[in-house]
Amino acid sequence: MSKQQPVGLTKGPGATPREFTFVSQDRDYTLKSGEFVVYHVDVDDQDRTILARITKRQPLRVYPDAFLSDPGVNPDDVAGLLGYRSRAHELFEVSATVIGYYDGDMGDFIDPRVPPRLGLPIYLATDAELTHALNKKRKGDVGAAHIGSLLDREKDRVPIVLDLRAITSTHLVIVASTGSGKSYLAAALVEEMMKPNNRAAVLIVDPHSEYGTLAEMVHLEAFVEAAYRPEVQVFRPGQVKVRASALTLEDLCHLLPDLSEKMEYLLRRAYYEVRQRSQEKKHRYDRWTLEDLETCLRELAKGGSEEKGERYGSTADALIWRLKSVLERSTIFDDSKNANLPALFRPGRCSILQLNEVDEREQQVMVATILRRLFRARLLTTKGRVRQGSELCLPFPVFVLIEEAHRFAPATGDVVSKGILKQVLSEGRKFGLAVGLVSQRPGKLDGDVLSLCGTQFILRVVNPLDQARLAESVETVGREQMDELPALSKGQVVIAGEAVSTPLTCRVRFRYTPHGAETKDAPAEWMTFFDQGGAENPPLSEGEDHVADGSTES
C-alpha cells in the first residue's frame, strides 16, 4: 500500500471503458502526462494496487483573461485584490488509463475491468511499485537488460530492465530521426546482451562502422565474470566473403539491374545448368564458380539454333561482361570462400560486420545470403538434420542487429533481403533466430517488417510521414505517446511491446563503451584547420587521389 498522501480523488469514468478521471490540485506539478498513479481496490477479495497512466490533464479553474493582461502583475495578486487568497486556486481534471494490477504468476497486468468508484483516493505510484510493476526482470537476472531509467521519474530512481527472452524471440526495432541516439541505444542493448548474465551470440550489420567501439567491452570489468569474458570481432569490408555459388538467381538479377528479357532468360538457363553440373560433379548445388557460370553462358550462346532465332552471342558477351564487372571487382564475393557461421556466431561473441565501403546492392545481397544461411542453419540444427562441426551447425539461438534497416526492407521496391527478412521475422522465433532492426526512416521501412517486430524502441521522430508509418504499424504505442515523439530529447525513448509490461518512456543509460557515431563539430574542425596553419592550396586537377593507407584511387 502507498503510504503517501493521495494526489486526488476520482471524479468519474473517462472517454473509454479503461479511462477514468480524477480531480487534483497538483500543487507540486507531479501529475505530468505519462506519469503513473495507483489506486487500491478489492478484486476477488484481494487488495490490489491498480496501476494507471495519466494521459491528459486540463485545468478546471482558470483566471479570466483580463487578469493576465499585464505581465508585470501577478494574476494571484489580482485575485487577492478581489478577496481570493487561497494557494489552491489551481484545480485539474486528470484523465488516466487503467493498466491493471500486476500478477506475478501471469507475468502480466490484469485489467480489473471496473473503473474506480467515485471519490476513491488516487496516489502517485512509488518508485518501488513502478520498479516492480514495469519490469519483467530484475537487474542481473539471466535474460535481463538494464537499458536506463523511467523518464517520468528522477534519473535512476526507476530502472528499466527489459526481458531479453522476449526480444530474442519476437525481434525488436529501433527507430528515430538521425542524431536522436538510436545507434547509442542499440549499442547499449548489445552491451547488455554481452554481459555475464546473458552471453549472447550477436552479429551486427554495420553499414557506417559505428559499432567498432564495442570491442572495448573485453577490457571492462562490467563484462567479466570468473572465466567469462566477451569476445568482439570486427570485420572490415571484404574480410567476410560470400561465395558466388551461394547467390540465388534473384541475387544475381539484383546485382545486375535492368537486364533485358533475353539476358534474364539466358542467365536463368545458365544458372540452373551450372547448378546441375555442380551437383553431378560434387554432389552439391553450391560449389560452382563464376568461371563455371561464364563457361556455361558461352556454351549456351554457341549451342543456340539460329533457325529458332536463338542467337545469344552478343547477349552472353554482355552478361559475362556485367557479371565480371560486378562480381570480380567486388570485395565481398569469392569463388570458394564463404562466411563461416560457427566462426561468426558463438555465445559470448559479438561479430561486427562493417560494410561502409560496400555498394548498397552488394550489402543487400550479403545480408540476404547471411540471413538465408542462418535461417537454414538454425532450422536444420533444431531439427537435428545437421552433423556436429558442419558449417550449418549452430546449436544456440542467435541475434542479428541490422543498422539502416530501411535499405534491406524498403517500403517501396523489391530488394533481395526483404523476403528473407520477413521470413525470419515471422518464423525465426521457432528456430531461435532473432533480428533487431535499426532505422532512421520508419516511413521508408516496409510496414509488415515494422509490425512483425515484437518490441519497439521509438526515439525522437519529427517527420510526419515517419510518424504516420509508426502509428499504422505499431499498435502497442498509444496515441498520447505518439504525440510525445517529436518532443523527445536525445536519448529518450518510448519502449513498447513484448519486452516491457506496458509502454513506457525511458531515459537511456550511459554506455560502458565509447560511442562510435559522434556527430562531427564542423565549425570547430574548420577553426582547427586554421589554428594548425592550414595546408597548401592543391592544384585544381590531379590524376590520383592519395588515401591514408598509402594506396591510390584513380
Binding site: A66, F67, V73, D77, V78, G80, L81, L82, G83
Partner: protein
C-alpha cells in the same frame, strides 16, 4: 458629513436613503456629497457601521403629474400648507458592501446585520475608505466587487469602475494592480456594448 437617513430597504443589502433637504439640517448636503459611487456608512450599533456605496438616485416629486388647477399660488403655499413643499425629496440607493468598527475591524461582503429605519447615513472620508480597503500592511482588498456585479444592474460595472477609480487615487502604490481591474471594466462598459469580445 451626514447626508440623510435610511427610509426604506429593498433587500438585505439594498437601502434607500432620503437626502436631507433645505431646512432639515443646518447645512444640507450638496449634490456632490451624494454622487454616484460615493462611499457612505450607516450606524448599526455603538461604534459599528454598515459600509455602503451610493448606486442609484431617485427624485421624489408628488407634484409631478398633478395637472388640475391650483387653489393657492405657490407663494402662498409656504404660508398655508408648508408641509406640501417638503414632500419633494431626493432619494439615493445604497448597496451595503461590508461592515467596519472603530477598532479598525473590517468585513467585506454581505453584512450580517441590517440597518434600521432612520439610521443616519454619513459620507465617508478618504481615510475611512482607505481603512475599509486595507488593514495594516496587507494589500488592499476589493472582495465585495463580485457582490456589486451580481446585482444584475446595468449600472453595476460602471459603479465598480467608479469605485476602482477612487481606490486608484487612494492607493497610488497599487495603481498597476488596480489598472488591470479597471481596464477590464472599461472594456466591458465601453467597448463590450459596441461588439468588443473578451
Amino acid at each position: 458629513m451626514v447626508i440623510g437617513k435610511i427610509v426604506k430597504s429593498n433587500s438585505h443589502i439594498d437601502y434607500v436613503c432620503q437626502v436631507y433637504g433645505p431646512g432639515e439640517v443646518q447645512q444640507p448636503p450638496s449634490p456632490g456629497h451624494y454622487a454616484f459611487g460615493t462611499f457612505v456608512r450607516v450606524e448599526l450599533l455603538e461604534s459599528r457601521w454598515l459600509v455602503g456605496i451610493i448606486h442609484n438616485t431617485l427624485l421624489h416629486n408628488p407634484e409631478f403629474g398633478r395637472l388640475g388647477p391650483r387653489l393657492s399660488p405657490k407663494q402662498e403655499l409656504a404660508v398655508f400648507t408648508p408641509d406640501y413643499l417638503n414632500e419633494k425629496a431626493t432619494l439615493v440607493g445604497i448597496a451595503a458592501v461590508g461592515t467596519m468598527n472603530t477598532a479598525g475591524q473590517v468585513v467585506q461582503g454581505v453584512p450580517s446585520l441590517a440597518a434600521s429605519s432612520d439610521a443616519l447615513v454619513e459620507r465617508m472620508t478618504g481615510m475611512q475608505i482607505r481603512s475599509f480597503h486595507q488593514q495594516e500592511d496587507s494589500p488592499p482588498r476589493l472582495a465585495y466587487a463580485p457582490l456589486l456585479l451580481a446585482q444584475g444592474s446595468p449600472l453595476a460595472p460602471h459603479l465598480l469602475s467608479r469605485v476602482v477609480a477612487q481606490l486608484m487615487s487612494l492607493f497610488p502604490e497599487e495603481i498597476q494592480l488596480l489598472t488591470v481591474i479597471q481596464d477590464d471594466l472599461i472594456w466591458k462598459t465601453q467597448i463590450g456594448p459596441l461588439g468588443g469580445v473578451m
